[in-house]
């Protein structure tokens, strides 16, 4: 015992002579604990090497902080970054193939819904469940920082989350000059008049961009009548099928149609609450305020 204690300072010395920066941070990282959405404490004593990341946002975040090689499986709706094509899929966004997950022997399974937690836990797997559907998009930075802690790559994560926040502030400051009386009204139709209300990620984005969501009184996503769309007369329409709006005589008198402001989102960035979400916000901001983003 005595010998060990004597050796200890020497060991530290050697360590500090080496790659001092990263190792010192490693010491600060672990153990790291997360409280999951069921109130359980999940402790990490080292970075997991084999992660089943059953969530598009988590996959994008891990790749963005350069820890993507830890992912051993995800679900089939995840399409970004292109590297995920090589990653095995264990089901789609609603059906997790638990047997396959167990067979992969992961040291962490990350899920966004409670459904599969008991089965995974019973199988002896380490499960981290974060109910991201309740999040607003600003929580994206918390998630980035959490993944930084879990993988021990705090540096990259902090940089990424800082740039996310900065980009949002930049957008906000550009839009800050828009006066409230000249606000645009907006509606997103995801198909068959299903629209996001105020308490959705899109609703929050509209709020940030200083536009009025004409479906603000819808809770979550809901189907509304074309009558309401015509009478509430949005200045801007976000849709996958702009043609439908331009060719349908019911909508000929809507401001958005008359002024040609019926837009298709240029990418899928706003459909995943991950690091690219802020780029999606900026894309939408450019569509709404082209003159402010030259």
């Amino acid at each position: 015992m005595k010998r060990l204690l004597l050796l200890a300072p020497l060991f530290l010395l050697i360590v500090s002579c080496g790659e001092m920066d990263s190792d010192v941070e490693l010491l600060q990282t672990f153990p790291y604990t997360v409280i999951d959405s069921m109130g359980n404490t999940i402790e990490f004593t080292e970075a997991p090497q084999r992660i089943v990341a059953y969530d598009a946002g988590a996959v994008e975040t891990l790749f963005a902080i350069d820890e993507g090689e830890r992912i051993i499986a995800t679900h089939s709706f995840v399409t970004y970054p292109p590297e995920v094509e090589q990653i095995p899929k264990v089901g789609d966004a609603f059906n997790l193939n638990i047997e396959k997950v167990i067979d992969l022997k992961p040291d962490l399974v990350y899920v966004f819904s409670e459904t599969f937690v008991p089965q995974l836990t019973n199988a002896g797997l380490k499960v981290l469940y974060i109910k991201t559907v309740d999040h607003n998009f600003r929580s994206t930075t918390d998630m980035i920082e959490m993944w930084g802690q879990i993988t021990g790559n705090i540096d990259s994560a902090n940089k990424l989350s800082k740039s996310f926040d900065e980009q949002i502030s930049r957008i906000e400051s550009k839009i800050g000059v828009v006066e409230s009386k000249s606000q645009f009204s907006i509606l997103q139709d995801v198909g068959q008049f299903w629209v996001p209300g105020a308490d959705t990620l899109m609703g929050e984005v509209f709020n940030l961009l200083n536009v009025i969501n004409i479906a603000e009184d819808v809770s979550g996503y809901g189907q509304i009548s074309p009558e309401l769309i015509i009478s509430r007369d949005p200045d801007i329409l976000i849709t996958a099928d702009a043609n439908m709006w331009f060719s349908d005589i019911r909508f000929a008198n809507i401001s958005a149609v008359k002024t040609g402001k019926v837009y298709k989102l240029p990418s899928d960035k706003l459909s995943v609450a991950g690091p690219r979400f802020v780029d999606g916000i900026e894309e939408l901001a450019i569509l709404i305020y082209p003159e402010l983003f030259d």
Binding site: V218, Q223, S225, E227, L228, I230, R250
Partner: protein
């Protein structure tokens, strides 16, 4: 026999009033005078003394009126189909939804939508045709399975209809899930809705309905004979097999056309004919026209509730018909010893 013309006309007028009344109510308020003015100017090309905004005119003429009329004709279609099925199969529980016709139609329409868009009239007609084919296959299969189990009794037909309907619905769902994400909104078809109603739909559904209704009226006499005894009908010179096939085809055609634009709306074809039966007896010559009028009016009211109860949300009307229809169905099962 004393044909109850007065009663028929009275109910026709009541349903007309229901239609006009429900045109005045919706997620957007339109003044009753404006409703009247728009209808007069659009229908009769007359100028009226007061004015309204273009927005009101579009909402009433392009959104609300086609929706109300589609509900009316779909309700009437499902009722005439239900009445014919009930008489033909001598099965008081034969509703287009319960014998699998509706689910078969949705499967056919889903397959059609894999290859077609929804824009042109030709596409819409092809969807109806696919729906009809799917529906006919399901109904015939249910009928043959029930017959092979020993005569057309009440429960075998309903059981095989429900089973085949579930099977068709499962395949439709599978196709939607495995296909391009753009088909997924059709999932809401499992509980039908009139939210997407257009004039083109109204035209197709009403034309098919108007073509099928006379068959129902002409064959009402034969349906009456069937209720007593098929042999008896044969002796009176009725070609039983040919009549049966023709009636299956027309009832299925009118079901499939209605369902292919709205999705599954259950129990309408059960509620209306039975209400008439309970009130005025089982004579098909009275039952078919009377039930058709009541079924149309009922679905207009059900859709009025669907589009106004939980504003701003638009509910699938199939929820409401099931909520009304299932207790009615259970009542029927308990009341009579089928």
């Amino acid at each position: 026999m004393n044909y109850p013309w007065k009663r028929l006309i009275l109910f026709l007028i009541i349903v007309l009033i229901v239609v006009i009344f429900s045109l005045g109510i919706g997620s957007v308020k339109i003044h009753p005078m404006d409703v009247l003015g728009i209808l007069i100017s659009k229908l009769f090309y007359l100028d009226v003394a007061w004015e309204w905004s273009d927005t009101m005119e579009i909402i009433l003429w392009e959104v609300r009126l086609p929706r109300v009329l589609l509900a009316l004709f779909v309700g009437a279609s499902l009722t005439v189909a239900g009445s014919i099925y009930q008489g033909l199969f001598r099965n008081p529980l034969a509703d287009p939804y319960l014998i699998g016709a509706a689910a078969g139609a949705v499967l056919g329409a889903t397959i059609a939508m894999l290859v077609l868009s929804l824009s042109s009239m030709v596409d819409l007609l092809s969807i109806s045709f696919f729906a009809f084919t799917g529906s006919l296959i399901t109904v015939l299969a249910a009928y043959l399975i029930a017959r092979s189990s020993g005569g057309i009794q009440t429960y075998p037909l309903i059981l095989s209809g429900i089973a085949l309907g579930s099977f068709a619905a499962a395949i439709s769902t599978l196709i939607m899930i495995r296909s391009d994400p753009d088909l997924r909104p059709i999932l809401s078809w499992t509980l039908g809705s009139f939210a997407g109603a257009r004039w083109t739909h109204v035209v197709i559904v009403s034309v098919v309905f108007c073509a099928v209704l006379p068959f129902g009226l002409v064959y009402a006499r034969i349906l009456n004979l069937f209720q007593l005894n098929e042999e008896h009908a044969k002796q009176l010179g009725v070609n039983v097999e040919r009549s049966k096939i023709l009636m299956i085809v027309v009832a299925t055609l009118v079901t499939a056309t209605a369902v292919s634009f709205t999705g599954l709306i259950g129990f309408v074809g059960l509620i209306a004919p039975h209400t008439v039966r309970l009130l005025w007896g089982p004579d098909y010559r009275v039952l078919i026209p009377m039930a058709t009028i009541i079924g149309g009016g009922f679905l207009v009211l059900a859709d009025l509730a669907a589009r106004t109860l939980f504003l701003p949300n638009d509910l699938p009307v199939g929820i409401l018909t099931a909520l009304c229809g299932v207790p009615f169905f259970l009542y029927l099962i308990r009341q009579r010893n089928f």
